[in-house]
Amino acid sequence: MTDTQKIVVVGGGMVAHRFTEAMRARDTDGRYSVTVLAEEPRAPYDRVALTSYFTGKDPEDLALGDPALWEDGLVTLRRDAKAVAIDRDAREVTDAHGVVHPYDHLIMATGSYAWSPPVKGADLPGVFVYRTIDDVAALRIYVERRRKELGRSVRGAVIGGGLLGLEAAGALQELGATSTVIQFSDRLMNLQVDEGGGQALSRLIENLGVKVRCNTATEAIRPDKHGHVGSLKFADKGEQLVDVVVFATGVRPRDELGRDAGLTIGKRGGIVVDDTCLTEDPAVSAIGEVACIQGACIGLIAPGNTMAEIAVDRLLGGEATFPGADTAAKLKLLGVDVASFGDAFATTPGALELTYADPVAGVYKKLVVTDDARTLLGGILVGDASAYASLRPLVGSALGGDPAAWLLPEGSIERPNVELPDEAGVCSCNNVSAGAIRHAVTEQGCHELGEVKACTKAGTSCGSCLPLVKKIVGSELEKSGIELSNALCEHFDMSRAQLFNAIQVSELQTFSEIIERFGTGRGCDICKPTVGSILASIYNQHVLAADRAALQDTNDRVMANMQKDGTYSVVPRVPGGEILPEHLILIGQIAQDYGLYTKITGGQRIDMFGARLEQLPQIWQRLVDAGMESGHAYGKSLRTVKSCVGSDWCRYGVQDSVGMAIALELRYRGLRSPHKLKLGVSGCARECAEARGKDVGVIATDHGWNVYVGGNGGFTPRHAQLLVEDVDDETVFKVIDRYLMYYIRTADRLQRTAPWQEDHEGGLEAIKAVIMDDSLGICDDLDAHMARHIDSYEDEWKAVLNDPERLRQFTSFVNAPDDPDPSLAYVEQRGQRRPATESERRDTAVLIAPTRLEVRS
């Protein structure tokens, strides 16, 4: 280890992360240790996704890569440790705490700062920039505070109409503020789009409620009478009332440390480096936004990551050089697609521009091609950027066929199927070529999108290339004869979603008819429960009706949870966790009478374990007699709706969370789905019900409820994402009805809501469009379907009690219905019984005989 060379990285942003990650991945001999000095009090995070912080993401959701990187023995991350001085002679960096970090090689990755023009009033409270999590958090707090103080929605303005400005305007809208974008130039995003694109963009943005004011210079920000931001004064003498101002007027490299250390600084700032990212000092490199490479600083993540990879490669003896920046950009703002790539402004001599504009649909598209109209040079897409992922990698290649096919709405002319050359870049954030993706499939054994993502990092940053990655993976698998099978099992050659459709359309209601029409053989333990669940979802008939019983999996088959010794547990329904004392007593009494082990569940219910098959109907009868019902602690169905005590008792509660939880549980009980469903309701933002860990979380606000979807505990914990905000009870029901029904119809077998939401084409935004804007025209159908479910709910346990045929299934032995399973054996532990282990069974003295546990009547 004495040979280990010390690298110090000054700066803790995305590029510093990429450098460290690449170094640890490639430096397998442990030649270098890496110390990262981060100014912010947190590990590097995804700054590009900053706006998603408003759509319900937590700071930790923005974390980059595998957090285990920072646990690596050769990596040291110093948070809250801004570097303040560099001594190049002594090769030392001093941080703000006075700690000295010696280095063998220094990486400058200090990034940029948000620059604001010297406008009068720029220091007033209520003026923000948009760069770090702290900036965004401060903005959020301020807007929320002002809304309360003012008692009306907050008026926001964003100065700067570039990419970041529009992001900020979107963020203000997410916060419930109105927003106006003040742009100095004649159009929005003037660096990326041309006049036609700018016009289309303005229209689209204005349709979403954001005001746009181009050709406007801001002269001053004026205070209100309390000293807060109050209004904007423009150079043309115009004025506008505002409560909060965000500057998005560009970034400048943070080159002051380099400057102080005597490194050469570019004309417009930035530490000057050569094509290998090295400064004039062979022990110092600069990467990312602070580097002035090929004469300019580049404020985009993709070239920054490329520089990080080059620096690593060079340190390990490689030959990589900077290929020039790909300034392609695609963003989606408030649902509006904007993309710009290649020679978007047709500066190549002889370049031709093909444009398509549909002002009604709000679409503007332009392709820039060579004078023979064969080779793609660049393009601009506004309103519909679906072709971006396919087009961007084609820059410099032949378009193949009629270029117009790429401009007209999808489907009007068939787009030529162009095979990308291996060297074409697919993921510009992580610099992954089409060839690398193909290699992952053919040589590295990746057969699924997730594996390819993990292996190549393609699509792991902004994700805009994922459709293309998916397509390449698909065609490569097809070529190598591997079919991406979505067959349910050997009996059904279709996915659950396809089967759901087939069953719904054909109106077949028995398994034998369904497998005869759509499958082969007699079925198995995979397809039978799936069909059983689909039939239950569509018709909501009893799980044991007609030939359904034989389709049901273990627990649904007897409507209780099978435990390891073959006995069952019974979990009475306790809607919302609210329970009468007499029902508590009844549960205790039943447990005592049958000698059942009792435990409080995670879903605010009481579980009674150790009931034998033949005892189940007796136990249900006692629950039914007292006005209770057994509950679904089993099955792919709604489990519980967990709640906190809410505004009835809690000092902090703002809404009746218990009432809402009960209403939801009674509404969705018995609903069969691709996987289990859990809901939660919290009565205030303190979120005591942990609702965001649920498939659907409802959280009270001062004005109503926020609904979050796609949360998950379990093996892969996820926080639910915001679906709607500040809505009333009726809207809560409506959106959850649609969300759940859409999930039930389209998810894969055993796919929970979080991965379904993620895998859904277009993600949560697209799901939102389906259930809020009715983009598929199916909302009436979803509503009617859920209404049918609610109307036809029956207590499935009580239904068995009334049916002698079904009751016959609840016998221990067909030839000895009064004999309990003689193999059951228990031992006492902490005053209750549990199944005996193998060795305890051999030592029979400790056993409790099952005969002692008969009902005392």
């Binding site: 079925g523 198995c524 273990t554 099978m562 390891k564 073959g566 032995f813 399973d821």
Partner: protein, 132 residues
């Protein structure tokens, strides 16, 4: 041959057959358990009318639950899946066709014992060697 259809020959008097229940008591594809001289047996009537019997003990869990599994086919082979850990067994040979990457409980054979079944005069008989 371990299974015999409903129209099978009358069993001879020399077998250890025990009348378990009426054939009509069995529902297609819904197993039942029987207790035959202390041995727990899982009995299945399949959609084609044939009746099969295997041990009710699931060798992978040690619990007597096979009668509560899901019947099916793997290719042409009729099968039963354990309701606990979902191993799949042949109803013809008792062989474990899908182990779910698990080993059976210590001392237990992964293969199920298959018992001969006869249906005669509307009654289901199971031959459990040693039982009377």
């Amino acid at each position: 041959m371990t299974t015999v259809s409903q129209r099978a020959a009358v069993p001879t008097a020399s077998t250890d057959r025990t009348a378990v229940c009426a054939y009509d008591r069995l529902t297609a594809d819904l197993g039942v358990a029987a207790l035959i001289d202390g041995v727990q047996v899982a009995i299945f009537r399949l959609a084609d009318g044939t009746v099969h019997a295997v041990q009710n003990l699931d060798p992978f869990s040690g619990a007597h639950v096979m009668s509560r599994g899901i019947t099916g086919t793997r290719g042409d082979e009729p099968t039963i899946a354990s309701p606990l850990y979902k191993q799949v067994f042949s109803l013809l040979s008792g062989e474990c066709l899908v182990t779910m990457d698990k080993a059976p409980r210590e001392g237990l054979d992964p293969r199920l014992t298959v018992f001969a079944v006869t249906v005669h005069d509307g009654l289901v008989y199971v031959d459990v060697p040693g039982a009377m």
